[in-house]
């Protein structure tokens, strides 16, 4: 049966991405929004939009019953969870199915099987997929952790059993730091996933993080769409991703792809999923976890394969067969994605919520901007900091790098701090250009990175002084009083005051 109306149980750029795919498939869309998101882009782009509660996600985007109720009331026949929030929540998938809604994602059983990283590790082991040595179960407490860590040997990695996106993850180099790391990891895991359980595994030295995109339909067909290289991370969160990986040749791609498909089959998987691997310097790959949802970085796979993954998700969820078989999958050129977050990379990645007073997104040949923002949009402080994903394609890696550098230089976001300046430095770095990547790349490079090297200091001073000069002149002409915001950014000031509504409340 064809899907007619779909509720997007998410916000931000991914909600926009799903709405775009639905529109192109002729499927009506229903957006949901918290009190902080009335003016969000996904609300404006959907056909319908309904409020679901206060700003905190726990009281809105994470309330299963309310989402199902809204979907029902709006007459939707399907739900797309996006990533994060309830996307890997088996109970939500079940609630949707119970309500007669098609859940655009894997069966609840598969989510559950892979949702627990510890359970997933057992499946991978049974499938003969190599793994990093570590605990197969969550660590009982500080004592047990200490003992296990000694057995495995430092450095060790603490990971949330129910985790994802690097939350509740800690690298521990020496026993002295273990207790503190365990406490904060458990706290973060509890806050993020409502389950404080963490497990422990050996930390691979300077590993690469390479993942395989798999796709399965409800007719038993399972294929892979090649790898994504996601080694550039900060605080265990991906910052730059690409496909293919310069570290992976076709033989290795096939081996990793087959291993990923084995895991997917064993889990009775359907729809889009990702199997994450750690790869060491000798090109040995180790199963990390399986993400039972669409990945943030799915666009790089789309650009090289030419396949619209979200459209394919919708077709597969509707019971159709995969639109292509493994033999039909072809790769063309190279794609890179950079994550534009509202953070200050020069102040410990401090989140930088606020109003985007000026916005100019790059475009032109083979540049794609998957954004949830617009000029005048206020980045709320309640959710993750992702503003937009900048994706480029080129015939080869060198061309893609040049294009990304060009696109980043064009990208202007005024009003909030972003990761753009650090991304520019990463893409320009000789190690990055040479493909010498590892999850330690950023830690190694960051210390040397400065907000500026004083090359344009005089010009910066001139710009700042001229702004002040004209501000004064206008103030003088407009009756003497010296009110910067009123004189210089009337619209912003007004918009801020009215927080986007028509009246100053």
């Amino acid at each position: 049966m064809k899907l007619k109306k779909l509720l997007v149980a998410n916000r931000g750029e991914i909600a926009v991405r799903v709405i775009r795919a639905c529109r192109e498939q002729g499927i009506a869309t229903v957006a949901v929004f918290s009190e902080a998101d009335r003016e969000a882009l996904h609300v404006q782009m959907a056909d319908e939009a309904y409020p679901i509660g206060p700003a905190p996600a726990l009281e809105s985007y994470l309330v299963v019953d309310r989402l199902v109720e809204v979907a029902r009331a709006a007459g939707a026949d399907a739900v797309h969870p996006g990533y994060g929030f309830l996307s890997e929540n088996a109970a939500f998938a079940e609630a949707c199915t119970a309500a007669g809604l098609t859940f655009v994602g894997p069966p609840a059983a598969a989510i559950r099987a892979m949702g627990s990283k510890t359970a997933a590790r057992k499946i991978a082991r049974d499938m003969g997929v190599p793994m990093v040595p570590g605990t197969l179960d969550a660590v009982a407490g500080e004592e047990a952790a200490r003992a296990m860590a000694r057995e495995i040997g430092y450095p060790v990695m603490l990971k949330a059993a129910m985790g994802g996106g690097g939350k509740g993850m800690r690298l521990v180099r020496r026993e002295a730091d273990l207790a503190e790391a365990l406490r904060s990891a458990q706290a973060e895991a509890g806050a993020a996933f409502g389950d404080a359980a963490v497990y422990l595994e050996r930390a691979v030295a300077e590993p690469r993080h390479i993942e395989i995109q798999v796709f399965a339909d409800s007719h038993g067909e399972v294929i892979h769409l090649g790898e994504r290289e996601c080694s550039i991370q900060r605080r265990h969160q991906k910052l730059v991703e690409e496909s293919p990986s310069s570290f992976v040749d076709s033989a290795m791609r096939q081996r990793m792809g087959e291993a990923a498909c084995r895991v997917a089959r064993a889990a009775g998987y359907v729809n889009a999923g990702t199997v994450e691997f750690l790869v060491d310097a000798e090109r040995n790959f180790y199963f990390l976890e399986m993400n039972t949802r669409l990945q943030v970085e799915h666009p790089v796979t789309e650009m090289v394969t030419g396949l619209d993954l979200v459209a394919e998700q919708l077709r597969v969820a509707a019971g159709e067969r995969l639109s292509l078989r493994q033999a039909d999958v072809t790769w063309r050129g190279w794609a890179i994605e950079c994550r534009i977050n509202a953070e200050d990379p020069f102040a410990g990645w401090m989140p930088s919520p606020g109003t985007i007073t000026g916005l100019r997104a790059p475009s032109g040949p083979w540049v794609r901007d998957d954004s949830g923002a617009y000029e005048g949009y206020t980045v709320p402080r309640f959710y993750d900091t992702l503003i937009s994903k900048l994706i480029v394609w080129g015939p080869d890696r060198a061309a893609a790098c040049e294009r990304m550098a060009r696109a980043l230089a064009e990208y202007r976001i005024v009003g909030v701090r972003t990761t753009i300046p650090i991304l520019e430095r990463i893409v320009a770095h000789p190690d990055f250009r040479a493909g010498r990547l590892s999850t330690a790349f950023l830690e190694r490079v960051l210390p040397g990175v400065q907000p500026n090297d004083a090359r344009h200091r005089d010009l910066a001073v001139i710009a700042a002084v001229l702004a002040e000069y004209e501000r004064g002149r206008r103030a003088a002409t407009s009756g003497g009083q010296h009110d910067a915001s009123a004189a210089e950014w009337p619209a912003t000031a007004w918009r801020r005051a009215g927080s986007g509504s028509w009246t100053g409340r």
Partner: protein, 166 residues
């Protein structure tokens, strides 16, 4: 019009004349002719001897943040006479002591020190949970904690004083 611009440790005297987007600028012993236009809120186009720059300028509590060609500069601009008056007092110009203020709104998830505690550089002072990440604050230098003005679970706004070092 004469200004004093402070960027990092540098203090520069800048003299501006001109109007209608065309300006003559004296910076130290250098002279510049600048064609400058505000093409959008906070986005300026500058032509200097034919070189084209786009500079983003944002006011940020007093000083302003300038982004030019991917480089970020924090510049404080003050009218020259006002600067002279303010700084004649000398000490008056000094900062308000070592207080830790919340750089963004969030919730205090942990306080690692008590008044009187001695801390060394790098020690964790407290943790603010904001935008789903735990943001750890470490001591920049050794010292003693004088006051702690917040407690775990407490919501704070940007600018709130969290603790004061002796």
């Amino acid at each position: 019009m004469k200004y004093v611009a402070t960027v990092g440790e540098h203090e520069l005297v800048v003299d501006v004349t001109g109007t209608d987007g065309r300006y003559h600028i004296a910076l130290g012993d250098q002279r510049w002719d600048v064609d400058a236009r505000l093409t959008a809120q906070g986005i300026y186009s500058l032509l200097v001897d034919g070189i084209s720059y786009v500079a983003d300028v944002v006011d940020r509590d007093g000083s302003c943040l300038v982004d030019v060609r991917g480089e970020l500069y924090e510049v404080t601009v003050e009218e020259h006479t006002r600067h002279v008056i303010r700084t004649r007092g000398g000490a008056a110009g000094a900062g308000a002591g070592r207080t830790l203020r919340a750089p963004l709104p969030g919730k205090i998830s942990r306080v690692a020190v008590r008044p009187g505690d001695p801390v060394k550089a790098g020690d964790t002072l407290l943790v603010i949970e904001a935008m789903k990440m735990e943001n750890e604050f470490k001591a920049g230098a050794a010292g003693t904690v004088a006051e702690v003005r917040v407690q775990p679970g407490q919501a704070v706004n940007a600018g709130d004083v969290l603790l004061v070092m002796g």
